[in-house]
């Protein structure tokens, strides 16, 4: 029995759309740009109600990032929307020079990230984006876990100052964080435990909730921390939890190189060495398929998390 119940099933991108629409109502300086994916990014409501603040850029993502950087001059808060692949890899240099290095208040909002994009396949399933974005000085990086948290994170970005990357996805997914507080940079301890800490973000938080139920049946006590903000990283929460549990498993829908696992391992190696296992895509491209089948094939299922936990606990006991 999972400790959290899905109150609904919705896509995280719709959480972004709802949050953006709410921001449009709250703040007349919020503007939105989209590169020909308005429906996919769920930006229609914003476009309908605030047409003078919505900018269709066409299939020209490099220009979209530059426009957004320019729009901060004069006080606007631009939110750009396209798929995660085109939000990062395609425009890395534009983000680096015109946004991050220039310290511009641009919010890069990226949908269809990771394997759960599904049938479109590896050309679109970016698994390197978090790494690219977290490497940039002054960039905030957030990977929310469900509809409610994506909406909360989007709204929070409206009053955050500085460049930020918000990563979400395509599939309908359990909603389970309704009413939970969200603060950029503050980890959310969802389950208390003592044998192992699971750090997860994005769609993998729900996978971890399911894994926790299976582990509880085996008598393993899991502490689950939703590490939605990869940068700035909540170092204190990581150290406090692992001090208690003595080992960690990280779970992310991203390459094993460069993501959440790297960030957690770096903190532990520096301050408090402990065994870490990483549930992530193992240096490979994805492929076409159903989201859940892909998660299973590439080692991101609840069973993979269970196996990683059992392995890390054995390592702890040496």
């Amino acid at each position: 029995m999972t400790k959290f119940t899905a109150t609904d099933k919705k896509d995280t991108r719709s959480g972004f759309g709802a949050g953006l629409h709410e921001l449009g109502k709250q703040n007349p300086n919020v503007v939105a740009l989209c590169a020909d994916l308005t429906g996919s990014l769920k930006m229609d409501a914003f476009k309908k109600d605030f047409p003078e603040r919505f900018f269709q850029t066409g299939i020209a993502e490099a220009n979209m990032i530059g426009l957004a950087a320019g729009m901060t001059i004069g006080g606007k808060i631009p939110f750009t929307g396209t798929f995660a692949n085109f939000s990062t890899g395609r425009v890395y240099d534009q983000i680096r020079q015109s946004v991050a290095y220039s310290g511009k208040n641009v919010k890069i909002c990226a949908s269809h990230a990771g394997l759960t994009l599904g049938e479109d396949g590896a050309t679109h399933q970016i698994l390197e984006d978090v790494g690219m974005m977290k490497m940039l000085p002054e960039m905030t990086v957030i990977v929310p876990c469900d509809y409610a948290q994506t909406k909360a994170a989007t709204i929070a970005l409206g009053s955050h100052v500085g460049p930020a990357y918000l990563r979400f996805g395509r599939p309908v997914w359990p909603v389970f964080t309704d009413g939970r507080p969200f603060t950029i940079g503050k980890a959310d301890k969802m389950i208390e435990g003592k044998d192992v800490t699971i750090f997860a973000n994005g769609h993998m938080v729900w996978q971890a909730i399911e894994a926790e139920a299976k582990l509880a049946e085996k008598g393993i006590s899991v502490e689950l921390i939703n590490l939605h903000t990869i940068k700035p990283l909540d170092v204190d929460s990581i150290l406090e939890s692992v001090k208690k549990t003595g080992c960690a498993v990280t779970c992310e829908e991203h390459q094993i190189n460069g993501g959440l696992g790297d960030s957690v391992a770096q903190v532990l190696a520096k301050h408090q060495p402990a065994p870490v296992e990483m549930v992530a895509v193992n240096d490979s491209f994805g492929e076409s398929g159903k989201p859940t089948d892909l998660l299973k094939k590439y080692g991101l299922s609840p069973d993979n998390i269970v196996a990683a936990v059992e392995k890390v606990i054995k390592r702890k006991r040496g």
Partner: protein, 281 residues
């Protein structure tokens, strides 16, 4: 607008050229060729055409804004900003040295007054300028946005994304200029990757296009005044500005070899001798 004081503007252009060669000589690096070629354009913009405030404010509401996309010509921009009162002229001597606000390529990171976006990686400035011009419209600010690019830079795809976008969206408070000197690092633009009929390209993209000589101060001022007259009629404006790379220093003129090379002591003396200025400071 008041009549231009050509005598004063010409002296300023000479002074700025002296600054450019001394700056690149001082750190033995930087890009003198394009900087010298664009000197009249910078003088015209900052000392006659633009409404701007040296007490710099990032948002620049109610002011004309200027973006340099070909950031490697930073020496001419830094000298112009200093001479226009944005910061102390003495700071020019720190160009490209450690802990300077005058980075090799322009940046906002060190908070140098006058700079609104980093540039250096080519092709990005027109997009930024178009974004800020859109915001001027949203804010009911009737001032203009100017942008300078290089001709070699026209080889970057993003330039044409921005070209298409600005015309489609009638960003007619945007006045862009291309430094059309025909040279890039590896050689003449025609040999490296020919732009063919550049004017026809911009016309086809839906811009109002005019041409003028960028090394004749009168022509530059008339050209930019005319650009303002052409603006706000539904189309963005493009100035194809013919210049000589290295203009003002005979041995640097007309060759790509001085794109990114600094003069030695003897070459500096020869350059300064050609750039006589009674009130050098």
């Amino acid at each position: 607008m008041a009549q231009p004081d050509f005598d004063k503007l010409k002296k300023l252009a000479t002074q700025i050229r002296r600054d450019i060669v001394r700056m690149v000589h001082g750190c033995q690096s930087g890009h003198p060729g394009g900087s010298l070629g664009c000197t009249e354009y910078f003088v015209a913009l900052y000392f006659h055409i633009m409404k701007h405030d040296p007490k710099f404010n990032m948002d620049g509401k109610g002011e004309d804004l200027f973006f340099v996309s070909n950031g490697h010509i930073s020496p001419v921009w830094y000298s112009t900003l200093a001479r226009a009162g944005y910061f102390d002229v003495k700071e020019l001597a720190t160009f490209r040295f450690l802990n300077s606000r005058l980075q090799g390529h322009p940046a906002t990171h060190e908070k140098l007054p006058g700079i609104r976006i980093a540039s250096g990686s080519l092709g990005q400035g027109l997009s930024v300028a178009a974004g800020s011009a859109l915001v001027k419209k949203l804010n009911n600010d009737d001032r203009f946005v100017f942008c300078l690019m290089g001709d070699g830079e026209q080889q970057e795809g993003q330039v044409w994304e921005a070209a298409m976008y600005a015309a489609h969206n009638k960003i007619d408070n945007l006045i862009a200029t291309i430094d059309y000197n025909g040279q890039q690092i590896d050689g003449p633009v025609k040999e490296v990757l020919d732009l063919k009929d550049l004017k026809a390209k911009w016309v086809a993209f839906g811009w109002e296009v005019q041409e003028f000589n960028g090394n004749d101060l009168k022509e530059v001022i008339n050209g930019l005044e005319n650009a303002k007259a052409l603006a706000k009629k539904g189309k963005p404006v493009m100035n194809l500005m013919k210049t000589d790379m290295g203009s003002g220093v005979d041995y640097m003129m007309g060759s790509h070899k001085w794109h990114g090379v600094a003069p030695n002591d003897e070459e500096l003396s020869r350059a300064l001798a050609q750039l006589e200025c009674s009130e050098d400071y």
